[in-house]
């Protein structure tokens, strides 16, 4: 039995005539300890998919099963790293994490909780900034706090919604490595949503493209047989990496071209011209 399973998921937004089908016939299963990436264009319904898995929204039809049980509402078992960090600006780094830890382990004493906070802050390398507020941190540091907050709750599965999307390329690379290191330590199940094919290949065991909406659905999956730990610079010369990358990009490009063709369909306009007022007055 799969660890996380999505069965025939459909998700509509709006009512009546204005209904738009965002997700259509989504089927996905993730095994325990697996690192899966879903790649797609911006605006293809990725965040909707993540929110379904988190339990923030419910599907119009179909089932989300987590360890065989239907997902109803959010749970501490599934940690979330949001696309836009979502730190609380009036709390410091440690307070932000403490709040999450306290909810996850309500029975622990304050000193234990503080130790957990300190441990995870150190893990993401933010100990010097522990008492700073989000506004004093750079984008990369904020995302590290968000990572620490999600991991400190010791979830069984981590769902990442374009966690590095807003970062520059260098910070992005560093954080990818850090997330991978943490993941490899205790091999939690992970789902990464991204718009960067390279990121997906570098980090995941499997990549599944998401065909864009309306009616977004999952495409064929691509297995990535690269040994871990992966070396980013060596990857560029790896023939296997190149082939997978080209295959995925080709697939996505084809979708993109299909979309363009659709958009180029000509619309016939009625032949009308402005009324001539010459000699009218």
């Amino acid at each position: 039995m799969a660890y996380l399973e999505l069965k025939n998921i459909y998700k509509n937004y709006g009512l009546g005539n204005t209904t738009t089908e965002v997700l259509s016939n989504i089927n996905l299963s993730i095994e325990e300890g697996e690192f899966v990436a879903i790649v797609g264009f911006t605006g293809s319904g990725k965040t909707t998919l993540v929110n379904l898995i988190n339990g923030l929204i419910t599907p119009t039809s179909g089932q989300v099963l987590f360890k065989g049980k239907e997902v109803k509402g959010t749970s501490h078992e599934r940690g979330v790293i949001f696309q836009n960090y979502s730190l609380l600006p009036w709390l410091t780094v440690s307070q932000n994490i403490f709040m999450a830890v306290k909810e996850a382990f309500p029975k622990e004493t304050k000193t234990v909780l503080n130790d957990i906070v300190a441990m995870y802050v150190e893990m993401v390398g933010l100990t010097p900034a522990i008492n700073k507020r989000p506004k004093e941190l750079s984008g990369g540091m904020r995302q590290r706090v968000a990572v620490a907050r999600a991991l400190a709750m010791k979830p069984e599965m981590i769902v990442m919604d374009e966690p590095l999307g807003a970062l520059d390329a260098l910070t992005r690379g560093n954080l990818q490595d850090e997330i991978l290191n943490i993941w490899e330590k205790d091999k939690r199940t992970a789902l990464l949503i991204t718009n960067d094919v390279d990121e997906g290949i570098y980090m995941a065991d499997r990549i599944i493209p998401l065909r864009p909406d309306p009616k977004a659905t999952l495409g064929p999956e691509f297995k990535i047989d690269l040994e871990r730990p992966r070396d980013k610079t060596a990857l560029n010369d790896n023939i296997n990496f190149k082939n997978t990358r080209n295959a995925i990009i080709e697939y996505l490009m084809d979708i993109g071209n299909e979309r363009k063709v659709e958009a180029q369909e000509q619309i016939l306009l009625p032949e009308i011209a402005p009324k001539s007022f010459v000699g009218y007055f």
Partner: protein, 366 residues
């Protein structure tokens, strides 16, 4: 850790020495200094211009009023009376001064008189208390109320009464408006239940609020001989000024960023926790914007309400001086006007600094 502390100390030192460096060293900062001198200079020049305009304006009004008085005496009583009137006016006697806009100098003199008067009254009070000390002690021993000084209040007492009233009113507004605003903001259902109430009572004038509060408090105070002017005025001020806070709080609570709500959901915070740890902190900036408006509105309506309630504050002072019509009444009114303006400005600055302390940019966590 030790290294960090040392670093911090160094930083402090640098900040301390910065002004001196600015003056002596950098060229750019010299320009900055010049700019700040210029800015202060412009302010001073504009104040000077204002005083000049005021001075010459009041002189023109004085002359008009004086010539009217002399002409009136001439047409009604003849030349002798007119000459006597003119002599009287130009001799500077108090009894026949034209009653018009006072000059800056007169206002300044009045201010000094009012302050001197304060010390006179303070001394009187002290003497009174010393004289009544033994009697009061005996009265208290018998379980009766002691005799208090009931002479007229000094200008400083009046200002303090006004400030006390405005703070009591502000506190009342805060205690009513913030909780109700939060409740209304949380529930769209209650919002529609309360909305008509807010929309109808928000535009009601301070005078009408005073009358309403008067009707109620008067009846409640039956059989109670103590003075209810203070109670009436602070309740009226509070009710009149609370609407901005109420509406802003409700709006702030209702429009909490969806990301924060998602965080609350993912962390599985309980309702209580969600309200106190996410919703209220994130709406604090808007709540304080509302409170700032409330405080300035409270100070503004206070004058009218004190006047009506006969509460011994600045409002009553201004009105009584106007009714008094004494030689220096007009300049006392202008003194009160400036005091009202300056205190209002200080209160606003005070609230602004608190507001800036609790504010955060909406995008800071994102």
């Amino acid at each position: 850790m030790a290294q960090n502390i040392v670093l911090k100390e160094n930083k402090k030192k640098l900040i301390l020495f910065k002004p001196i460096e600015i003056i002596f060293k950098s060229k750019l900062s010299k320009n900055k200094l010049l700019l700040s001198f210029k800015k202060t200079g412009v302010t001073l020049v504009s104040i000077l211009l204002f005083l000049m305009l005021w001075h010459f304006g009041s002189q023109a009004l004085y002359n008009k009023e004086a010539s009217y008085k002399i002409n009136k005496a001439l047409t009604e009583q003849g030349k002798v009376a007119a000459d006597a009137e003119r002599a009287c006016i130009y001799s500077g006697k108090n009894s026949c001064q034209p009653n018009t806009l006072p000059s800056p100098l007169q206002v300044w003199t009045s201010l000094q008189l009012l302050i001197a008067d304060h010390y006179v009254i303070k001394a009187d009070k002290k003497v009174f208390e010393e004289q009544m000390f033994a009697t009061n002690k005996a009265l208290i021993a018998k379980g009766k109320n002691k005799i208090t000084y009931t002479g007229r209040p000094s200008f400083i007492d009046i200002v303090l009464t006004s400030i006390k009233t405005v703070f009591a009113g502000f506190l009342l507004a805060l205690l009513i408006a913030v909780p109700i605003g939060i409740i209304i903001g949380l529930s769209p259902f209650l919002k529609s239940a309360f909305n008509w109430f807010i929309q109808i009572f928000k535009p009601v004038s301070p005078v009408v609020w005073y009358l309403l509060v008067f009707m109620i408090v008067k009846t409640l105070y039956i059989g109670n001989n103590s003075d209810n002017a203070f109670v009436i005025s602070f309740i009226s001020v509070g009710l009149c000024a609370m609407w901005a806070t109420l509406v802003n709080t409700a709006m702030g609570v209702a429009s909490v960023d969806k990301d924060y709500i998602n965080v609350a959901k993912v962390l599985k915070l309980g309702t209580f926790q969600k309200v106190f740890k996410i919703i209220i902190p994130s709406s604090l900036p808007l709540i304080f914007t509302g409170l700032r408006i409330t405080l300035s509105v409270a100070w503004m309506v206070l004058i009218a309400i004190e006047l009506l309630a006969q509460s011994p504050g600045l409002g009553l002072f201004v009105w009584e001086e106007f009714q008094n019509g004494a030689n220096d009444s007009n300049s006392k009114i202008i003194v009160a006007m400036f005091v009202i303006g300056i205190i209002g400005f200080l209160l606003d600055r005070f609230m602004l600094s608190i507001q800036q302390m609790v504010s955060f940019n909406k995008n800071e966590g994102i």
